[in-house]
């Protein structure tokens, strides 16, 4: 039952987007997020959507696969949209009972829905096309400048990649403990929420003990293999910018210029 959980859901295929340097993708995602909040006119949204659509097509990840990640967020989105729809003050278009729908409300709701959709799909592009390993490498190298202010960048990246490696192992372990407790007559599925949370205790305690033991073992194994922090460490797969990364940066820059320019245009402004 726990095997269905996939984290950092990477989609394996060959594409330009997959081959891009993770640093480009990281910065690209951040810039794309920023751009979404720069404008509030239809042309801006059209350009953001076209940009995203182009990237999706280039990534060769099936669109249906991306939508899958949206499902969980749909409820959250509906709530936000509905609240905006009914709460916003302005020219009333439709009213029944105590609820009023205003023109401004509709516009705001549509904008929000669009923004959230673009945000989620935009961020999933990065996780879908970058292996977790590559991502941590990218973070480590891309954020190296933070070392100046004493942020332990290497350590954080190492912790991330170790956690990613142990997620499936600990999931398997949880499954095993659950089965062991079920075999001893533990009741995990009946009762109210509070009861069920309480029933999780005999699962979490052994899980934590085992996780700590694993951590101790792993620390020993890492030390035995001469691990002593990021100092003097070389890379088996060092990140190197290629020409395609330069082109990607240029495209990003162009996209940002267009977004900022559009954001300042009042010509198409809706509100």
């Amino acid at each position: 039952m726990l095997k269905d959980i996939t984290l950092g859901q990477y989609y394996q295929t060959e594409s330009v987007i997959h081959r891009l340097d993770p640093r480009v993708k990281l910065l690209g995602t951040i810039l794309y997020f920023v751009s979404l909040f720069l404008f509030n006119n239809p042309v801006g949204y059209a350009i953001a959507t076209i940009f995203l659509a182009t990237v999706i097509i280039m990534s060769r990840v099936p669109f249906s696969f991306m939508i899958r990640g949206m499902r969980t967020i749909v409820i959250l989105m509906l709530i936000t949209v509905l609240i905006n729809l009914f709460v916003t003050q302005g020219d009333v278009v439709l009213s029944f009972w105590k609820l009023k729908i205003t023109k401004q409300g509709i516009i705001l709701a549509v904008q929000l829905a669009l923004r959230i959709t673009l945000l989620i799909i935009g961020s999933s592009i990065m996780t879908l096309t970058t292996t977790p390993n590559h991502l941590t490498d990218g973070l480590e190298k891309g954020l190296r400048f933070l070392k100046v202010i004493k942020v332990p960048v290497h350590e954080i990246a190492m912790m991330m990649s170790i956690s990613l490696r142990f997620i499936p192992i600990l999931l398997e372990e949880t499954d095993r403990i659950m089965k062991a407790q079920l075999a001893r007559g533990a009741d995990l599925e009946s009762g109210n929420l509070f009861k069920r949370i309480k029933a999780m205790v005999p699962i979490l305690v052994p899980l934590f003990i085992s996780a700590f033991r694993r951590a101790g073992d792993l620390a020993n194994a890492m030390e035995a293999r001469c691990y002593h922090g990021g100092e003097g460490r070389t890379k088996m797969k060092p990140l190197k910018y290629k020409s395609r990364d330069a082109i990607a940066y240029l495209i990003l820059a162009a996209y940002m210029v267009v977004s900022i320019y559009l954001g300042r245009l009042s010509l198409f402004k809706i509100m």
């Binding site: 490696r165 192992i169 691990y227 088996m236």
Partner: protein, 283 residues
């Protein structure tokens, strides 16, 4: 010259209660002195709690002795400056295959050791390839370690140590969590390394069958070395081994029982072939 030498090594585990008062002391290593020759295949036998894993951890400075000295390739393990040299000289493979693989891809895990040592990138790739080939895991280099069997994971761990070009590999019960097939894979890989690459192998185990081909065997009990010698010498002492609650290989046990019943068989039979030959000579 001895690659590993210990002199009067003492190590104690001290248990304390919540107030920090000492409630008990377990002497894990009780004045151990031994020497291990370069290029040998050494086996250290002993039941649970005999101190064999504690001894293993002294061989690459994960633990340092309270009294006495451990030298690895001439370096004292309590010398802080030499610690990385020592760990590079004496690589270590642990019991649980899941808890010692760091990388998310086989080849990346094998490259972890050389990365830490600061080996240049091209050299790392060369070493990873060689090490994976040496343990027969090269085809799996792009796989995720989670998808491998226990024996395969342990072979990857061995490759990870091998990529550091150690002179000596310490295997601390590498087969304890494996099925018979995985056990054979791992032991064969270790033996291969010893023969072909001339790496000193120290195998810590409680499976007697894995000991048969060792050059030298140490038997530990209660933190002391109670027996040492070639497998033949050790296994001819069936009564003593039984007193230490160690199992003797089935063939050896059968030969021993037959001999007790009056058959004229040689001492210390270790393989089926030897027994067959011995019995056919009896007539």
């Amino acid at each position: 010259m001895d690659i590993i030498k210990t002199q009067d090594v003492l190590y104690e585990y001290i248990r304390r209660d919540d107030e920090g008062e000492v409630t008990g002391i377990t002497t894990a290593l009780d004045h151990i002195s031994l020497g291990i020759k370069k290029g040998d295949f050494i086996a250290i036998l002993g039941r649970n709690g005999s101190g064999k894993s504690t001894l293993a951890k002294h061989f690459n400075a994960i633990l340092t002795p309270e009294e006495g000295t451990v030298w690895v390739d001439g370096n004292d393990t309590s010398d802080e400056d030499k610690i990385w040299d020592i760990r590079q000289t004496a690589g270590m493979v642990f019991q649980n295959p899941d808890n010692q693989i760091i990388g998310q891809v086989v080849e990346e895990d094998v490259g972890f050791g050389p990365e830490n040592m600061g080996v240049p990138t091209e050299e790392i790739w060369k070493r990873v390839e060689e090490s994976l080939k040496a343990v027969g895991m090269y085809e799996y280099r792009k796989h995720s370690p989670n998808k491998l069997s226990g024996g395969q994971k342990q072979r990857v761990s061995i490759a990870g140590v091998l990529a550091m070009k150690p002179k000596c590999i310490v295997l601390d019960e590498p087969t304890a969590m494996l099925d018979p097939k995985g056990r054979r894979e791992v032991i064969d890989a270790a033996r291969e390394l010893n023969k072909k690459e001339g790496v000193t192998v120290i195998l810590i185990t409680h499976y007697m069958e894995e000991v048969i081909n060792a050059d030298r065997v140490f038997v530990m009990d209660g933190g002391k070395i109670v027996m040492q010698g070639t497998p033949k010498q050790i296994f001819s002492l069936v009564d003593e081994l039984k007193a230490l609650r160690l199992d003797v290989p089935q063939v050896t046990l059968l030969a021993w029982e037959l001999k007790k019943k009056g058959l004229n068989l040689p001492e210390g039979i270790l393989t089926v072939e030897e027994l067959v030959e011995g019995i056919s000579r009896c007539r």
